[in-house]
């Protein structure tokens, strides 16, 4: 496939942060009408490359050529004007504005300078429809969960350029981990759209840690390792094993090991017992039992209420019906402290707003939960603290392995690991993991899954939520199925349980 000329060419890109050389001389080409995967481990420099391209960071070296012309892009605005539209890794929209406004802001349809609200809402609804989304575009964005926000961000970027005829139309579409919290159906819709755009000649840059998705949709890929380019390949010419090897620099076999892992079946006595727990507007009353050492996976479509269920069990939201007892004792779940005191830990899916304190260091973020539990009067002794932190940085392979680094400056995946470390350190009885592998690379994902297994073997109960059904099935003893914010089934895992069985259950919505 010999394209005449790349639409975008980046050569010798260098970007430094204090103490870190995030990109050292990376070359990158993007051809019109292709979907190009940018691959690499957490912290390899993918997001940085994208931010350099779109003018968020300034270049420390190298050149960018767009459509054969050398350009200097100084701001996201300029990037947009040059025909590059982007979905960044963290959802970057304005939560206070309505969905429609988020899609159109900056290019609202106007007549004589006056915004045409009706038209804008109509067009927004159409665009949202194209992605198969059924949402009220007049509601504020903040009323939707992260996944929907991610979809809105995609709608916005796809929509750029095709309204009003302003700008030059999208030539390059950059998607930095757009699928990290989408489920299968949404991903399929997105892919359909991406293909359509590709066929219209748009060049698409796609980042994802789901290798299957890469192989499904991409034509070509560029692999980064530690800020350097390690190769550019046609997807068809490189298999998954080879790709992983390129990414991490050595062969990876843990992943296979996990597939063979047989869940040990000896779970202990009941740890958590929820009866009729529910919250209007959140999730219908449900009964749930989690045994000691059990991994309970939650399956459901986007917005089916998995997060709501988890939040109720932790006390992040106040339930308005039902009771929970943990370890035989009834707990009134009215605030997170109640959950924490009872030994529940909750690792939120939304690390940016509900998880990390970006200004604090890695160390401080890691010890935060433990410290909060001990109260302010009993600081963790320095030696013990440093040892703990070092241990978890090593165990989870957080990079850079510097406890003094500010968490806000870590790559997305590494931030996720910090969040995990924070809760592991508290040694809870029940660990709730809401999409813990979101944005985590293959290697680390395998590590985390192994960790879950070994925690459960040690007697810790885990409530596991993940966008990928396979992932849930692989780890869980029991699977809770949710549909329309109602817990419709609890199925014991076994060889006969397959993703399609679960999907059927969701579709039929009965079984209880």
């Amino acid at each position: 496939m010999a394209e005449p000329r790349p639409v975008l060419e980046m050569a010798g890109i260098v970007k430094e942060f204090p103490g870190v050389r995030a990109l050292s001389g990376v070359d990158f080409r993007l051809f019109p009408g292709e979907i190009h995967a940018l691959m690499g481990e957490n912290g390899a420099g993918k997001s940085t490359l994208i931010k350099v391209l779109t003018g968020v960071y300034s270049l420390d070296g190298g050149t960018i050529t767009l459509d054969g012309k050398s350009v200097r892009i100084a701001s996201p605005l300029q990037a947009q004007q040059a025909g590059i539209s982007t979905v960044y890794q963290e959802v970057n929209l304005c939560p206070n504005l309505s969905v429609a406004e988020n899609i159109f802001i900056g290019r609202e349809p106007t007549r004589a300078g006056r915004i045409q609200w009706k038209r804008m809402r109509k067009e927004a609804a159409e665009l949202v429809d194209r992605l198969g989304l059924d949402i009220d575009v007049t509601a504020p964005l903040s009323s939707y969960p992260l996944a929907v926000q991610q979809l809105v961000a995609i709608v916005r970027s796809v929509g750029t350029g095709d309204s009003d005829g302003e700008g030059s139309g999208t030539k390059v579409l950059v998607l930095d981990e757009p699928t990290s919290s989408l489920d299968r159906d949404e991903v399929l819709e997105l892919f359909r759209l991406m293909r359509q755009l590709r066929d219209e000649g748009v060049a698409i840059l796609f980042v994802s840690h789901f290798l299957d998705q890469i192989y499904e949709i991409c034509d070509r890929m560029t692999v980064l390792r530690n800020g350097t380019l390690v190769g550019e390949h046609m997807v068809s010419e490189l298999d998954q094993v080879g790709l992983i090897q390129l990414m991490i620099g050595k062969a990876l076999d843990q992943l296979e090991g996990l597939h063979e892992h047989q869940l040990h079946s000896d779970v202990g006595e009941t740890l958590v017992q929820a009866d009729g727990l529910g919250r209007t507007g959140g999730i219908a009353p449900f009964d749930l039992e989690i045994k000691k050492g059990e991994v309970l996976g939650l399956a459901g479509l986007l917005g089916s209420g998995r997060t709501e269920l988890a939040r109720l069990l932790f006390g992040a939201d106040q339930p308005d019906s039902g009771t929970v007892s943990i370890g035989g004792k009834q707990v009134s779940m009215s605030a997170p402290n109640d959950g924490i005191d009872a030994g529940v830990a909750f690792c939120s899916e939304n690390r940016k707003t509900e998880g990390l304190v970006p200004d604090l260091t890695v160390r401080e973020n890691i010890i935060l939960a433990l410290q909060a539990a001990r109260g302010w009067t009993r600081p963790i002794p320095v030696a013990q603290r440093d040892e703990l932190v070092a241990k978890y940085i090593k165990a989870l392979d957080i990079r850079p392995a510097n406890p003094e680094a500010r968490v806000g400056q870590l790559s997305g995946g590494n931030q996720q690991k910090v969040l995990l470390a924070r809760w592991l350190i508290t040694q809870p009885k029940l660990l709730i993991l809401d999409e813990p592998t979101r944005g985590i690379d293959v290697g680390a994902k395998a590590e985390i899954q192994k960790l879950v297994v070994s925690l459960s073997e040690d007697g810790m109960s885990v409530l596991y939520i993940a966008a990928e059904l396979e992932e849930v099935l692989r780890l869980s003893h029991t699977i809770g199925v949710l549909r329309d914010r109602r817990l419709v089934a609890q199925i014991a895992n076994g060889p006969e349980i397959t993703p399609s069985r679960i999907l059927e259950t969701i579709a039929s919505g009965e079984h209880q």
């Binding site: 430094e16 942060f17 204090p18 968020v56 960071y57 300034s58 270049l59 420390d60 070296g61 963290e90 992040a316 605030a335 997170p336 402290n337 959950g339 924490i340 005191d341 909750f346 939120s348 940016k352 707003t353 509900e354 998880g355 990390l356 304190v357 970006p358 200004d359 604090l360 401080e364 010890i367 935060l368 939960a369 410290q371 909060a372 539990a373 001990r374 109260g375 302010w376 009067t377 009993r378 600081p379 963790i380 500010r406 968490v407 806000g408 400056q409 931030q415 924070r422």
Partner: protein, 369 residues
């Protein structure tokens, strides 16, 4: 370690710029008052410009230290000036009612009453902010407005003059040849530092200010912490109130601590704490407060005409803030000095000297909020 790298490490220290400004301001006085730095001995205590800067700056340091913690939680406290007035008024009016104004027990009781009132104000602020969820600026505005009225109610609109030796000590007396207020300030600062850095309080405060929702979800009782910092801030203001009234041996309900909240906030910011909450620096605040007090003293000593006082102050504030802005330094000092003067992109080739610093500064904000 080479000198240049040591220099860079120095300029990178978060206290470098405030301290530099402080030193420059002090030096500015020398041509006008040649013996500015001389410290003499009168009546068995030290006397001189430096001493009076610390003496008169003490209340501001106290208020600013309390304010730092409030600001670190993402709040702000406008009521400190009123609390200063209330505390002073209560203490002095109690003392003035005593037959023996110099009785130690009466003075201690008076101080206790004053500080108790301060704590109540703090509790009220904390209640409104933390419990009721009212925006801090408006919640504390209530006491700012009403509190001064209360203070005047206590003093009946008059200035209450007292004549009490022990009370005089706190804000106007001397001990070991030094103004006693220095010891009070040192004690409060030390307690604050120990309280925030030796316990986990500092971490929790920074966490609440850095990301409130995340803090709730890790189980930090932010309600308690917020109430605690507002109480602490009010307590500091209360001590400052005692000091101010003791310094002149009089309680002035209307003027005591007037506009001190603005100076305190300014001190906090000059000291490098962000008004958005999160990271804070007590040391920085102390330096910031000293900068402001030195500025005031400088205005008096170098003979700035009264009508230009404020223009002068504005100019200094702007210069300090500009100097502290890495973007400004990078833009103005550019190539040569940009690298030297703490442009954080330090050691890289001078290809695009100005921008890296700028971008790096922008970068940390990326993931914030």
């Amino acid at each position: 370690m080479t000198t240049s790298s040591r220099w860079r490490a120095l300029t990178h220290h978060n206290l470098f710029w405030p301290v530099a400004v402080l030193v420059v301001l002090l030096l500015v006085n020398v041509p006008f008052t040649p013996d500015f730095f001389s410290v003499g001995m009168t009546n068995g205590h030290l006397h001189g410009s430096l001493v009076s800067i610390v003496l008169f700056g003490s209340p501001l340091i106290l208020v600013a230290v309390g304010m730092t913690l409030v600001i670190a939680t993402g709040g702000i406290d406008l009521s400190v000036g009123a609390v200063v007035a209330i505390t002073g008024a209560l203490a002095c009016s109690y003392i003035s009612d005593q037959a023996d104004q110099s009785a130690l027990s009466a003075v201690l009781l008076a101080m206790g009453i004053g500080l108790l009132a301060a704590v109540i104000c703090g509790l009220w602020n904390g209640f409104l902010v933390a419990r009721m969820g009212i925006q801090p600026i408006i919640a504390t505005l209530i006491i700012m407005v009403a509190g001064r009225g209360v203070a005047q109610l206590i003093t009946d609109g008059q200035i209450i003059t007292i004549n009490s030796k022990p009370y005089k000590l706190i804000g106007g007396g001397y001990w070991l040849t030094l103004p006693f207020s220095i010891f009070v300030v040192a004690a409060v600062v030390a307690v604050t530092v120990v309280l925030t850095r030796r316990t986990a309080l500092g971490l929790l405060v920074e966490s609440v200010g850095g990301n409130a929702e995340a803090s709730r979800l890790v189980g930090i009782r932010s309600l308690r912490i917020k109430i605690m910092v507002y109480v602490f801030c009010a307590l500091c203001a209360g001590i400052a109130g005692l000091m101010i009234s003791s310094n002149t041996s009089a309680a002035d309900g209307n003027n005591a601590g007037l506009w001190i909240e603005l100076d305190a906030i300014l001190a906090v910011v000059i000291g490098g704490t962000s008004l958005l909450g999160g990271r804070f620096s007590i040391g920085g605040t102390v330096v910031g407060a000293l900068v402001i007090q030195t500025l005031t003293t400088t205005i008096y000593t170098i003979g700035v005409p009264t009508q230009t006082n404020l223009v002068f102050k504005a100019a200094v504030v702007i210069v300090v803030c500009l100097l502290q802005s890495p973007k400004f330094r990078a833009k103005v000092f550019g190539t040569k000095l940009g690298a030297k003067f703490g442009a954080k992109g330090g050691g890289k080739p001078a290809a695009a000297p100005a921008e890296p610093a700028a971008a790096t500064e922008a970068a940390p904000k990326m993931e914030v909020s």
